[in-house]
Amino acid sequence: MTASVPVSEIRSAIKLALGEAFDTVIGMYLDKGETLRESLDDLTAEQASVPIHPGSNSIASQVNHMNFYFDVMKNYLVGQEPERPDWSLAWKVIEVDEDQWSDLKQGLRDRQTELYGLIDAVPDEVFADPNFLAGSYGIVAHTAFHLGQIRHARAAQGL
């Protein structure tokens, strides 16, 4: 047993876990066809606006929340202490029209690209910082959590 795991291994595992959630299933924890891309791309704005149960949030809400979260975490990862975020804004969007829905999905894809770039670019010593590590795991877990809810919300609509 080794005394330590190289940063490159942790970096790689985090990217694989994120990749699985976004668009590339390798069998870490999803079945084929369950990625965010496959879960969102075929939805209409109307379907994305349906609350999973009365008083609950919609798939559009989930995506808006994820985008908000990524923006907060991005600052955190690069060492900028974010101003206290108003998380209520993250759940503000419930219903969307087609343009808004398209923008939300594009926003998620843009943040995916940005996040990968950030993970690739940080030097090993930054990656080994507890805050960066916690933030990275947080993004993996938070993305998986909301993907799970999105899959549930789709299924509840018979999709």
Binding site: M1, T2, A3, S4, V5, P6, V7, E9, I10, S12, A13, I14, L16, A17, E20, A21, M28, Y29, L30, I52, H53, P54, G55, S56, W87, D124, F127, A128, P130, L133, A134, Y137, G138, V140, A141, H142, A144, F145, H146, L147, G148, Q149, R151, H152, A153, A155, A156, Q157, G158
Partner: protein
């Protein structure tokens, strides 16, 4: 990287999945284990329309997955499991449900122990398995929390 460091953050995420402590990915005060304990057997067995599964199904699935994690951290053969059985709609009594939750609660220490003290080599596969534990837990905790919300309204 020091194993203590990267494992510590993984362990926090595992804890958070159960009782909300950890501050890694859930809203503060989110105690899933406590909410599971507060459900009746009937509530836990309610099938979410369309989704086709109940909170009890989700918990059973997480228990089965622990059997898959075992060879990842201890080595050995992967078990031949009947994944479909987890998703069968079987009404549970209050006692059966509480027993299931108790068994689920115990998996927290099992998972943490594996991450902290694996028998397998601490290589990329091991690091991937540890992160997979967190991602898989989080995915189903998301669905469980939906299920709890629905069961309490039904």
């Amino acid at each position: 990287m020091s194993n203590d460091l990267w494992k510590t953050e993984i362990l926090k995420a595992i804890d958070e999945s159960y009782d909300g402590t950890g501050g890694v990915y859930l809203d503060s005060g989110t105690n899933t284990l406590e909410e599971l304990q507060s459900l009746t057997g009937n509530q836990a067995s309610i099938v979410l329309p369309g989704a086709g599964n109940s909170v009890a199904n989700q918990v059973k699935h997480l228990l089965t997955t622990v059997a898959i994690h075992k060879p990842q951290f201890e080595g050995g053969e992967y078990p031949d499991l009947d994944w479909g059985a987890d998703w069968e709609a079987t009404p549970l009594s209050d006692d059966e449900w509480q027993a299931l939750v108790t068994t689920f609660a115990a998996t927290r220490e099992q998972l943490k122990n594996w991450v902290q003290n694996p028998v397998v080599a601490e290589d990329s596969a091991y690091a991937g398995a540890a992160i997979m534990v967190v991602a898989h837990l989080a995915y189903h905790i998301g669905q469980i929390r939906h299920g709890i919300g629905y069961a309490k309204q039904a």
